[in-house]
Assembly symmetry: C2
Homo-oligomer: 217 residues x 2
């Protein structure tokens, strides 16, 4: 029996659909009345764990789940020892630097040295500003990062942007893109090494579905 | 104009009610259709920032809010430079060690050395196990910590317990209490030192309401 860790929220619907294409039916998780965090697929071949975005790599790294589906942004921020197996293509968004539209800053290097940058992704932000050789003070927030510049606490934010609507509503504009993020299929390295074919079969099924999807689009 | 940082979620209703008693009306925040994260009180004397639990001490520490209301659990976990002004009494819960009911562990010291402990509050957990002189491997999770023991990833969890219903539903029992937590009024130390009376007045009003409440109960 294999276990797949899935993230609550925006990626769930597409994750369930991709696994269904590979023969694993976890559609119960999409039922709004479902309160279970651990369910079996209807075929009995696999279990799913429904956890927070940031916890998917943890369950996979510790081997409680052999596979998982999570955004590249989370993988990049956490740097857990998991294998990044496949780019699933959905859940596209970008990690960006944004500032107040009225600030006049046009690119990362315009920001004043030792300015404050608020982010939920302080590891990603640290790497970016270190590469720029621009010293900044990072302020870790857990939500509503756009309040950082609005309240005057931070000159800039580093955050995930999908449609850009939240930024616009808050008078912010993107000035740099750190990287593009999509959902990834990840695996536990030891489970992959010891695999007798079951994991590889599922990975291949998920992968072939991807090619079909790409071909038809 | 002073700013008060308030936490979304379980503490919000009582926080708004205590500030209303002190003359600051932020009842708009309780309106389920409200999407604004920053609102003015109807008297125009103050603003409120509606942020995640864990971000309240950040806004207060950086001085973007002079006052804030947040659970003692968050203060203890984060250890930010803010003044803990007043125990507001509501939002009572306890930080506890819990294990599977079938495990046989009766107290913290029964846990095997180097076992795994899952928690959202890894700083609180670290202090507790260091005081016990019991080496454990802490696994940081961001939600649904009860899955840790259920999946076999962790022998124990350290988590906030209010009614105990979630633990019971997941076959877990509390074996130790680290501390009791309630909502606290916190303040920015510099703002308190420079205060010309406005903050002290609000603090006194909130405090006197507390005495009345205690007296009547």
């Amino acid at each position: 029996m294999i276990t797949v860790a899935l993230a609550k929220g925006a990626l769930l619907k597409d994750s369930v659909s991709r696994l269904a294409n590979a023969g694993l039916d976890f559609s119960t998780l999409l039922d709004s009345s479902n309160r279970q965090l651990m369910i079996s697929s209807s075929c009995g071949r696999a279990k799913a764990l429904l956890v927070r975005n940031g916890d998917v790599p943890v369950y996979v790294a510790y081997g409680q789940a052999q596979l998982g589906i999570v955004g590249y942004d989370v993988l990049k921020e956490q740097d857990m020892p998991v294998a990044n197996l496949l780019d699933l293509g959905f859940g596209g968004c970008r990690m960006s630097v944004a500032v107040q539209a009225t600030s006049g800053y046009k690119r990362g290097l315009d920001l004043p040295p030792h300015c404050r940058v608020a982010s939920k992704f302080t590891n990603c932000a640290r790497t970016y500003f270190e590469d720029l050789d621009l010293p900044v003070e990072l302020v870790h927030l857990t939500g509503s990062v756009e309040l950082g510049p609005i309240t005057g606490m931070a000159e800039a934010i580093v955050d995930l942007v999908a449609s850009g609507r939240t930024l616009k509503e808050n008078g912010l504009i993107e000035i740099e893109e750190l990287f593009h993020s999509t959902a990834r299929l990840i695996g536990n390295p030891l489970s992959l090494r010891l695999d007798k074919g079951i994991l590889q079969e599922i990975i291949a099924e998920v992968k072939s579905q991807k090619s079909v999807a790409n071909f038809s689009s």
